[in-house]
């Protein structure tokens, strides 16, 4: 699912990649970062991006409602796109499992992208590897079922955000390596030189063997606005963010 995220990160800088905007879902992607590293903002940007593709709705799973809508860039926060994002808030691990196990019973248009924010909140502490693997496998199975419903050529993507601690213990490492089995594509967010006026992060995208790694600077201004510049170009250049690409749909 690296393609949607790559498009989010590349907006405004690589118009030539429009041709590659195929609907191929690609491998499931794990979005990793510490607390406050902008995972939710990126996930939401990916939801908006996918909602503008003229395909099915986007299913956004998170334990609690977003406190505020992350500031979208340019014209992308249009109501038509927002309407296509279906938020669901499973309050517990059991509710999330129930939702995934019964996803095939749901009526209505089939989602083209499934997003889960805060996987760590659903990984119960006394769980062994098998339970964590089952949750990851069920997420994949749900996306695979949606892909099957959509039909060949166009799959349903899956992006899951997981908060990681800066100094993980061995239990965390085991859990992470287990999850990485199920999510071949990964995107790491690392805080890079916290500045007084804006937070800077480095986003490193590994599309899971389907292409080269790529890196970006992601900066959040105090008002929450996100600017993205390709690495190693310098961040903090607002003129590079003229990415209003809402007219690129056929």
């Amino acid at each position: 699912m690296a393609e949607v995220l790559r498009r989010v990160l590349s907006l405004g800088s690589s118009a030539e990649s429009e041709e590659e905007n195929t609907a191929e879902a690609g491998p499931p992607l794990l979005l990793l970062g510490g607390p406050g590293s902008g995972k939710t903002a990126l996930l939401f940007a990916a939801a908006l991006e996918a909602a503008g593709e003229g395909r099915g709705p986007v299913l956004f799973l998170t334990r609690r409602p977003l406190q505020s809508l992350p500031r979208a860039r340019g014209a992308t926060l249009d109501p038509l796109r927002l309407q296509k994002i279906r938020f669901q808030y499973p309050p517990s691990t059991h509710e999330l499992l129930q939702l995934l196990c019964s996803a095939h019973e749901a009526r209505g248009p089939t989602p083209s992208l499934v997003l889960l924010d805060g996987l760590e909140e659903y990984l119960v502490e006394d769980w062994g590897p098998q339970e964590a693997a089952y949750l990851a496998a069920l997420l994949l199975d749900t996306a695979a079922h949606f892909s099957h419903q959509i039909g060949p050529g166009q799959g349903c993507g899956l992006i899951v955000a997981l908060q990681i601690r800066e100094e993980g213990d061995s239990g965390d490492a085991l859990q992470l390596s287990l999850l990485q089995r199920y999510f071949p594509a990964q995107c790491w967010l690392q805080v890079d030189a916290p500045g007084p006026r804006q937070r800077c992060l480095r986003a490193c995208l590994d599309p899971g063997g389907l292409g080269p790694r790529a890196e970006w600077w992601v900066a959040f201004r105090p008002d929450g606005e996100m600017t993205i510049t390709p690495w190693p170009a310098q961040a903090g250049n607002p003129s590079s963010d003229k990415g209003s690409s809402s007219e690129d749909q056929p």
Partner: protein
């Protein structure tokens, strides 16, 4: 493996072996000996046990009108294990230990049996309602919870 998500499949060498076996089965209705020895070379004793499960028709493909599918394998101990059709997951203890925790196996014998039964087209089929399929996917979880 038409159901699998890209990137969450078997190593290429295993995929290749399974598709060669599928082609051979279509042509001759049996698996050539050299494929069986490759299988044994890659998976060790699990290969024999998996073939045994296939012979005994222990694999059931459960599907519902929605198109969602799940496999159940009746193990040699009489317990039934759930294997997801889209990615590597089996509810058996060997999968938890050897595959997930130790990473010294690629698969457990049940998952291998599922792949072999796909190749040999010998799995039993069971149609259930959408609701029943939900229960099958969830029941596994309840059993786990009681066990802990």
């Amino acid at each position: 493996m038409a159901f699998a998500l890209p990137g969450v499949t078997l190593p290429a060498v295993v995929e290749e072996l399974l598709s060669e076996m599928a082609a051979a089965v279509q042509e001759n209705a049996r698996i050539p000996d050299e494929h069986l020895s490759s299988l044994k070379f890659i998976f060790g004793s699990s290969a024999i046990q998996a073939l045994d499960l296939v012979d005994r028709q222990s694999i059931t493909l459960i599907s519902s009108p929605s198109g969602r599918r799940v496999y159940q394998v009746l193990g040699s101990s009489g317990k039934t294990y759930t294997c997801l059709a889209s990615c590597h997951y089996c509810s058996c203890p060997a999968f938890a230990f050897s595959v997930l925790r130790k990473s010294d196996s690629l698969l457990c014998k049940h998952l291998l049996a599922v792949y072999l039964s796909q190749v040999m087209r010998t799995c039993r089929q069971l149609k259930v309602s959408d609701k029943q399929l939900t229960d099958i996917l969830l029941v596994k979880k309840k059993q786990e919870a009681q066990k802990v």
